[in-house]
Amino acid sequence: MQIRLKNLTKKYDNGAFKAVDNISLTFDESKLTVLIGPSGCGKTTTLKMINRLIERTGGDILFDEKSIDEMDRINLRRKIGYAIQNIGLFIHMSVFDNIAVVPRLLKWPEQKIKDRVEELLELVNLDPELHMYKYPAQLSGGQKQRIGVARSLAADPDVILMDEPFGAIDPINREKLQDAFIEIQEKIKKTIIFVTHDIREAIKLGDKIVIMNNGHIVQYDDTINVVNQPENEFVESLLGSDRALKGLEMLSVKDNYIKDFVSINAEEVKTVGTALEYLQKKEKSYAYVVGKKGILLGYCTTKRLQKKDKHDDLIESVIKTESIQPYSNLMEAIITMVEAGLTSCPVVNSKDQLLGIIRFKTLVDIMGSFEKSEE
């Protein structure tokens, strides 16, 4: 569904204060658009006018060119997914009942609701058997947030509004949730309007970014254009001085890793001797070692293997390694690699299966290209 804001305005105190001042823009269908700006810029007000938690005082909001006034407020809200910062999970309801709220309001049959809840829990990477009948008090912050996201998707809405949904989570879990969320959006392709005050989050998640200040739109463009061509000093200061690094956050590992790597399957190659022969044949000094179903176990080097007896088990000589997932961004990749001291890092999917490797050199080259665009 496409949403168009037309001269949207929200005045308070008889017009003395304009929280949102005559803004017009179109949110693209199936895209994630981020609203960002300093507090008081009007981003949350704009969001809440879309599901009429706040009533506008001027202009119009059009859903596929149909005015918001032609729709019943309650029905409209049931068709729009909504996730908020403090999650707002209902503590007296189980995970199941929380997710089932809107489907029940829409009077879905119970079996359909049950199937949907299970489907959604799997989508947000929580085992339905294990979590369906738990209560919010029994969940970690990150798990609650996942339920919040699942709940907003429950009735399969075309539009989802998210008000800093990851705001209350610690940085490490936030990055994980963001990664998981990008993966979900890849699958569901909803029209999402996402409010945040964190520019890194905006760049990481947004297909497009709306930068707001004092109730006005300062810049509205594709994320990459906002980063590369900031409209004015305000946007530049919002982006911060490390734009080249921020650019890395827009790009994901999945588009930049290579599948050309050497791996040894420990299911077939059991001894140090055969592994060494294999490496010499391939003229490599190291190789990744995978186990059953291609699950990454670590890596081995010729140097280390040569010190061992060739009848030794290969598994014993495998060195554990950091890995990164395809939906992580390049900034996270660079941090992982610097911290672990790796010049290349294995890329694995959510089941730990080895997909490829990402090289430090690739990252440096990409950073270089951003620097050029800055000059």
Partner: protein, 221 residues
């Protein structure tokens, strides 16, 4: 020894007065809930009205029970109900209103605004929010108010003996007038036990009515 003798000899009487005592409270509390909880809900949206209502309820509660019975005898006499069970029931209702209204009000108001916003944003109507969100979350606090009211009801009913409502007050007041200390002791122990028992019973009921998720989140805090 004399104490147990008295209990054995007057088993029927004790049972009768105990049942009467329970009857008065048993009639009064449902009435008090039927008035107090809806009033608490109704005023939760209007701050000014809420202040006035709470103020009136507090004033009512400060009236000493004997004085209240005095009023009642005078006011209900034309209806032939000045003495006996009716004024006792009314008195217990009057004293129960403040804890019930106040606790309902607080419980409804204290629901996390984020929870209500989420519910509204998901398309619940005001009525649905009240019954599916606010009230289930309010159960423990409303029940605390009810316990407060019940325990007070036990003691008010004791004094209601003086206006012919009978009940366990009989043992205390008759004992006092006849200088039979054993009677007073029996009465006092029974009233005390009934107070403690009522509180305990309602505590169990509260546990039964409180949604599991609320209990879990409380025990976590």
């Amino acid at each position: 020894m004399e104490f147990f003798e008295y209990i054995f000899d007057n088993g029927d009487r004790i049972l009768f007065e105990l049942l009467r005592h329970l009857q008065i409270i048993g009639i009064a509390l449902p009435i008090a809930i039927a008035i107090g909880v809806p009033v608490g809900i109704a005023i939760s949206n209007h701050k000014k009205t809420a202040n006035v209502v709470i103020y009136i309820a507090s004033v009512l509660m400060t009236i000493p029970s004997l004085a209240l019975f005095g009023f009642m005898v005078a006011l209900l006499a034309p209806f032939n109900a000045g003495i006996g069970v009716p004024p006792a029931v009314i008195a217990v209702v009057v004293y129960s209103l403040l804890p019930l209204i106040r606790n309902t009000l607080v419980a409804i108001q204290e629901v996390d605004p984020a929870t209500v916003e989420a519910a509204t944003g998901m398309g619940m109507t005001k009525t649905q929010i009240l019954f599916k969100i606010r009230l289930p979350l309010a159960v423990p606090i409303i029940m605390a108010g009810l316990r407060n009211a019940a325990v007070m009801g036990v003691s008010v009913t004791t004094i209601a003996y003086l206006i012919g409502a009978r009940g366990l007050g009989y043992f205390i007041f008759s004992g006092l007038s006849r200088s039979r200390l054993v009677m007073v002791l029996v009465g006092a122990i029974l009233v005390g036990a009934l107070g403690i028992g009522t509180n305990y019973g309602l505590l169990k009921l509260e546990e039964l009515l409180t949604p599991r998720g609320v209990k879990l989140s409380r025990s976590k805090e």
